[in-house]
């Protein structure tokens, strides 16, 4: 019995030992075969940054408007300053290298509440080398990041938008095409040696980063430069609160320039307010005033209700309808053509009545008033156009002169481009193509026809009538461009305020196209609240002339307007 007990105990002890060895064997196998580098603290892991794609203007990759740069984010860790280093001396080196105030850096080094205090970003490798010298400085570290750089500063700010601190587009093209622009991160995993360097032969995973796609715009930075300069000048000259300018190619609908004032610097977008980020050219809804008259005239001509030579009574300066007066200059009996040239309110109001509510609304909607044009930019407004059945008696006399209807600048220029393009309405667009980092074209915009609101001969007739506006006796003489015929229309609209219209605040506009005989591009200029002058022809007309003149020469548009003696000599 005693021997039997000894035997059992021996077996039990042996079993315990065997189990222990099996357990140890399993652990050994796990450490050696599965994840030993992590367990031994030799795991190496590195994220490869996929650069965000660039944005170029229509001239191709010679002129990047936005690009990402590899940079370093420097941060202070006050607790890791070595004892042998003097904090003042370290602060001086850091401040000098990063271009910061020494006192500011010193204050950060004296903080004890955090071990990660971001101080500055830098793209300069020399800064990194200086601040990595452990014999010189300590308590400062860095991490790899990418920063978004806009080589031309404020240029095209509202179209380009900006990228926030998380690397996500926050406005404009950066926001709208964020998924194309965003690069894909890569990674390297393996083992590191005692000096924390990767052991190449132990690399287990290497997934290369993929850069984001590049976007090619239809905008031209040279035209944009002229536009922004001219807009800035007029805003300053007339102490205006803002303004917007659009240049559009009439045959395709491509936007060549789009500017909005006030503007901001995309790299320092947080310095500007939300209002400033807004692209006024497509996000401000305003009553257009007289620039709407060309649409009204096109509609009545298309309905064959009148001809350009039809004579109508423009009254003696005031016309009562539905108990309300409509004021105008004294024109007497004039043709439709002269009414447009002189911008007669009364004649256009009567034309609106001739059309009737339903047809008038139909034409406005055909010109895309009251609905979005679908441009590839965020924040586009649809404007305000009530349904004809909801109009009061006054509306059909006010909408034809640009009151009681609200539009965006983009809608207005597109309507004029339609008249310039023989009545064919094109969809405006700003992105020409998107090219992946491997060179593959992943998206290409083809010009798209949105509709044909008026017949070609009507568009031609209105075009000829609009040329008269910038000639002697017209309201838009200041918009004339030497060497080119200009077709366009002035507009001066009172700003709508709650309960009526402001008597002091106006929108001064001019919209037209060049050359009048065979239009290539159209330009819209709108200035918000100019003072003391507020007339479209006076405020916006010269800006139009400046932009149109430079654009026509830049695009090498042949002049179509020669003086009589020049025409004789040229044999034209």
């Amino acid at each position: 019995m005693h021997e039997r007990g000894i035997l059992i105990r021996a077996w039990l002890v042996s079993a315990v030992f065997i189990l222990c060895f099996i357990r140890l064997g399993c652990k050994l196998a796990y450490l050696q075969l599965s994840n030993h580098s992590k367990v031994t603290g030799r795991e190496y892991k590195r994220t490869l940054l996929g650069l965000r794609g660039s944005i170029f203007d229509r001239n191709g990759d010679r002129h990047p408007m936005a690009l990402s740069l590899p940079a370093r984010q420097f941060f202070i860790d006050p607790k890791s300053v070595k004892k042998e280093h003097d904090v003042n001396a370290v602060s001086k080196v850091v401040a000098d290298s990063l271009g910061l105030a020494e006192s500011e850096v010193l204050a950060q080094f004296r903080r004890r509440d955090s071990r990660y205090i971001p101080v500055a970003r830098s793209t300069d490798d020399r800064v990194y080398e200086t601040l990595s010298d452990k014999s010189l400085v300590s308590g400062i570290g860095s991490e790899e990041i990418t920063i978004r750089h806009y080589p031309q500063g404020r240029r095209m700010a509202h179209v380009l938008g900006f990228v926030n601190n998380m690397g996500v587009g926050g406005a404009g093209i950066e926001q709208q095409f964020n998924r194309y622009l965003t690069g894909t991160q890569g990674m390297i995993e393996g083992e590191k040696d005692a000096w924390r360097s990767e052991i190449f032969s132990r690399r287990s995973i290497h997934v290369p980063a993929i850069a984001g796609a590049d976007i090619y715009l239809t905008l031209d930075h040279n035209i944009q430069y002229v536009v922004e300069q001219a807009l800035q000048e007029v805003v300053e000259k007339f102490d205006a609160t803002g303004g917007w300018v659009i240049v559009q190619e009439v045959k395709t609908g491509a936007i060549l320039a789009m500017a909005s004032s006030p503007d901001f610097e995309p790299e320092n977008y947080t310095d500007a307010s939300l209002d400033v980020w807004r692209n006024n050219a497509l996000a401000i809804v305003y009553e257009p005033g007289s620039i709407m008259k060309a649409v009204t005239v096109a509609a009545v001509l298309n309905e064959r209700l009148v001809t350009p030579e039809t004579v109508m009574d423009a009254g003696e300066g005031v016309w009562f309808y539905a108990g309300k007066p409509l004021r105008d200059h004294v024109h007497g009996r004039i043709t439709i053509s002269t009414a447009l040239k002189k911008s007669s309110n009364i004649v256009c109001a009567k034309l609106g009545l001739m059309l009737g509510n339903k047809r008038l609304e139909g034409y406005l909607r055909a010109f895309n008033i009251g609905s979005k044009l679908g441009i590839e930019l965020p924040g586009e407004e649809r404007g305000i156009l009530a349904r004809a059945k909801d109009w009061d008696r006054l509306k059909p006399t006010r909408i034809p002169i640009g009151q009681g209807v609200a539009v965006t600048g983009l809608q207005m220029i597109n309507a004029y481009s339609t008249l310039a393009n023989g009545g064919v309405m094109m969809q405006p667009y700003v992105v020409d193509k998107i090219v992946s980092s491997s060179g593959e074209v992943v998206f290409k915009t083809e010009p798209k026809v949105l509709g044909r609101p008026v017949r070609p001969e009507v568009a031609r007739a209105v075009r000829e009538m609009l040329i008269g506006v910038t000639e002697g006796g017209g309201t838009g003489r200041r918009a004339a461009v030497p060497g080119y015929s200009v077709a366009g229309k002035t507009g001066t609209a009172q700003k709508a305020v709650p309960g009526g219209y402001s008597s002091t605040d106006y929108y001064a506009s001019f919209v037209g196209f060049v050359p009048g005989s065979d239009p290539v591009f159209s330009v819209l200029v709108s200035v918000e609240r100019p003072r003391p002058q507020h007339y479209g022809g006076y405020v916006a007309g010269p800006v139009f002339a400046k932009i149109a003149s430079a654009t026509a020469r830049y695009l090498e548009v042949p002049p179509d307007l020669l003086s009589e003696d020049q025409t004789d000599i040229a044999g034209l």
Binding site: L51, H63, P70, D125, P151, S201, Y484, Q566, A570, G571
Partner: protein
């Protein structure tokens, strides 16, 4: 009487197979060690080249950005102004249109001459006025 006894040696002679196997194992081990060392060395070199490539690529991107910063329209205009050059696109009356064959369009030469004469006359008139 001393016996002529044979000395007994305790060592055993290993068989050639065992010796061959041992030499092979040692040779393979040494070769493996050499190759491993060489691989590690090459790996370090590759890694250094990778780092160098990355850093050069980053530098290229940054340098390109710096170059782009200098080519903006306003910077070019400012640079030209520093050298006393104020340039603009030619005015319509300064242009002579050329056809696809490379010849001036009909009447363009006569028109250019006319413009030149007129502008000279205007300059003379201006000077006289002054």
């Amino acid at each position: 009487m001393r016996k002529n006894r044979r000395r007994h040696v305790n060592a055993k002679v290993l068989s050639p197979a065992v010796v061959g196997m041992s030499v092979l194992i040692v040779s393979l081990t040494l070769t493996y060690c050499c190759l491993d060392s060489k691989c590690n060395q090459l790996g370090q070199e590759i890694r250094k080249h990778e780092q160098c490539f990355e850093s050069l690529e980053d530098e290229r991107v940054r340098e390109e950005a710096r170059w782009n910063d200098k080519r903006t329209p306003e910077k070019l205009a400012q640079a030209m102004l520093r050298h006393g050059l104020e340039m603009d696109y030619p005015a319509p009356e300064q242009m002579v249109r050329i056809g696809v064959e490379g010849e001036p369009l009909p009447g363009q030469i006569a028109l250019a001459k006319f413009r030149k004469e007129r502008s000279s006359a205007e300059r003379v008139a201006q000077k006289a006025g002054q």
